[in-house]
Symmetry: C2
Subunit: 157 residues, 2 copies
């Protein structure tokens, strides 16, 4: 039984909770090459500080340190973006770590092969089908509820 991808029942792909809004103007005042704090990075990407620290503990990012305080450079932010993209595409953090390109050209992005794309598409199609079956079953239950009501009304008349 494949554990990693299908053991949980319900949760599908997480969206980074549309958290970009009115303070984009403020953020744009920060020069892109100026390292930002964890709170700023968390706001910029719509994730919690805990999540960013967790990604670091899993060796997905390695921000600068000013004493004990973390500082996220442009490079780190590109990696965060790649991580969140990977999450949206349904990859695990371990898979994302293996696929984040850390080439010398400063390209910190997901680096998927054609085969990886196809495999992931197949995985997601399977999940989608399971969900569709579940929805169909729920609709059946919903309508059978009405039928039961009708039968009772018929029997009572």
């Amino acid at each position: 039984m494949d554990h990693k991808r299908t053991s949980s029942a319900t949760s599908a792909i997480r969206l980074p909770s549309d958290a970009r809004g009115s303070d984009d103007v403020v953020l744009s005042l920060v020069r892109p090459d100026t390292p930002i704090t964890i709170a700023q990075a968390a706001r910029e990407f719509g994730v919690t500080m805990r999540a960013l620290r967790f990604y670091e503990s899993k060796r997905l990012i390695a921000p600068l340190r000013a004493g004990s305080v973390r500082l996220y450079r442009q490079e780190d932010r590109e990696r965060i973006a790649a991580i969140l993209m990977g999450r949206r595409l349904g990859f695990t953090l371990a898979e994302i770590r293996d696929r984040i390109a850390a080439r010398g050209d400063g390209n910190h992005t997901l680096d998927l092969t054609r085969e990886e794309c196809v495999a992931q598409i197949n995985l997601l199609e399977r999940q989608k089908r399971n969900i569709e079956v579940a929805i169909a079953e729920l609709r059946r239950i919903y309508t059978s509820f009405y039928r039961t009501l009708a039968e009772r009304a018929g029997a009572g008349a």
Copy 2:
């Protein structure tokens, strides 16, 4: 941020791994009112013994005991069936526990209201949409890979 249902990225609804086959004949020899062991119950429903013990620890089932050995009656098996149905429909074990009807009439089944059906359908539709967005993005990456190849070929010529 709603944790319970959307924190994990990928895993969707689990199918009980189509594990009914040639030994149905053997199983049918067991009288339905005769309690069966955990190994037999696990095989009958295509789950692990660990899963059945886990459901028990979460108070979803309460099989008989012959000494330390668990014995699953017809009633217990109906509850297991209801649990697995609930899992397929994307409910958590806590939700299933609250919705398993244990009425005096021996009806041990999921007991969903219309509202619960609608809410669950909406939840699954959202998950399905997230997956569809992810698949579309993966297809885009896949085709852009070809475009890059073509550009390189064009530049090289």
